[in-house]
Point group: C2
Chain length 329, copies 2
Amino acid sequence: MNGYTKKCLITGGAGFIGSQLARRLLLQGCEVTVIDNLFTGSKGNIYDLMQNPKFTFLIHDVTQPFWGQFDEIYNLACPASPIHYQHNPVETIKTSVLGIMNMLELALKTKARIFHTSTSEVYGDPDVHPQPEYYWGNVNTIGIRSCYDEGKRAAETICADYLRQYGVDVRMIRIFNTYGPCMHPHDGRVVSNFIVQALQNKNITIYGNGQQSRSFQYVDDLLDAIQLYMALPRAKVERFFSEKGIAVPVINVGNPGEFTIRELAEMVLALLPESKSKIINEDLPKDDPKRRRPDITLAKELLGWEPRIKLSEGLPKTIEYFRALIKGN
Amino acid sequence: MNGYTKKCLITGGAGFIGSQLARRLLLQGCEVTVIDNLFTGSKGNIYDLMQNPKFTFLIHDVTQPFWGQFDEIYNLACPASPIHYQHNPVETIKTSVLGIMNMLELALKTKARIFHTSTSEVYGDPDVHPQPEYYWGNVNTIGIRSCYDEGKRAAETICADYLRQYGVDVRMIRIFNTYGPCMHPHDGRVVSNFIVQALQNKNITIYGNGQQSRSFQYVDDLLDAIQLYMALPRAKVERFFSEKGIAVPVINVGNPGEFTIRELAEMVLALLPESKSKIINEDLPKDDPKRRRPDITLAKELLGWEPRIKLSEGLPKTIEYFRALIKGN
């Protein structure tokens, strides 16, 4: 880019996905600023980046305004696993809603392109399967998951309105279940749960009968999609969604390969033959979505992207990460 | 109450419903403070109250914090008709979301009981008919109505979480289509539209074929329900919703009598035989909900309430209001 160094801001950049995105953007020569309140993010995830002169880390909560000069903003701040987002539901929905408002105001002020991470949770407990972007979802407004689900839905609305009303160049991805190195070891998500339980020879807990299905996307596939999306010229993005009859740029990104929770548990155990863990069943929590699988037609067409990394390839890498993390503790 | 004067705050108190609520509460002996940014509210609606020493009016926008000492808070601030809420969608969703956050913070600080006006719009374009409170709705997150619908959904979530997390005594009503004196004459709603058009001998515009149904509730019925609800002891409210398996206090309030838009137009014309208006048809706007009718079982059981005023009684009163308003202009 003729010697110009692109300046990127990542909110939640000390978290699972944000920290890996920061590492990539630095390798590609960008200046990267990470803001994170360290509620679920960890300095350990970005420790290796701290000495890089192009990297800046600031403790900052996105519910408060943040100003600076950036070309691209990646809004990834929000506790994303039930165990974390239910810890303080009021702060969760504030993080979602006030966080995106503050980042859109920053984008507006600095003319930055902005990426917003939405989630498959906007589909709730879907009665359409798999879920295309056209599907409006089935979500409870007053349940114990609502702080996350409705917070994320309202954040999409706010993005759509800043685009329509102020012309902000915002692009959203509804991320489906994603796993990989740098996941929080105690976030209560199924992949990290099962691996950590198996490594520690504890019983592997399945909620319900384990027949509920999930899609599992390896983090590198997601990062590829985010970067392909953000690199597209605005005119191309606008034309694409206009032709599709979708009001604003939003695509599903996930791995459509469907596995039951029980299958996942069995794969983890097969990859760790030395583990003494057994599979046990517990009651399903309230409002737990039964089935979720992305329709990724739009992402394929727009980005020429599809997931490359199979569960059988991604799981061993994730296991190695957790093995090292647990040894290090 | 042994000489104690109850202090009430009404946000949006210069609007259609808020101003009528203010008038009632004053008649009942309460001290009433109204805050309103006068975007859709009008000083004309509360002009007769201005000399009452128990009445205070302040221009204030609920997106900003507001502090005072109150026993009861009635959160009615939000443009509610498409023509108004789509004028500035970003402010609409901020009004909904930041407004309720600010009022819940005030309720928390002052230990006030708080009433929040939700809406039948949280059901969106329902695939269940009539709609019970258990129904989760069918709402688009990124359409041109989303600033209102999703803003109101997120506001419900925020109420639910302040109740669960901080114990705020919050009570919500999902208000279905309501009409009556003090409606905004140019809010684009079907009742005011038809009456004003008929009074001015303009054509009565029906969007679509006019077979979409609506329920029409006279404002006095709604005010009765709000007051019965707010007067209930907290323990009774909690027990009721707990027995019903509903997470937090939220009830539908509306008139289940169903009329098509065409029937309404014909009733208005029949009540104004001198009008030279004719009925014409125009295209249905995007995302317009097709059908909406309240299941009011819970309101009946909890409040011993049901609507008393028929459309054939309420329409003439509303016509008289608009006749005087138009003459006065």
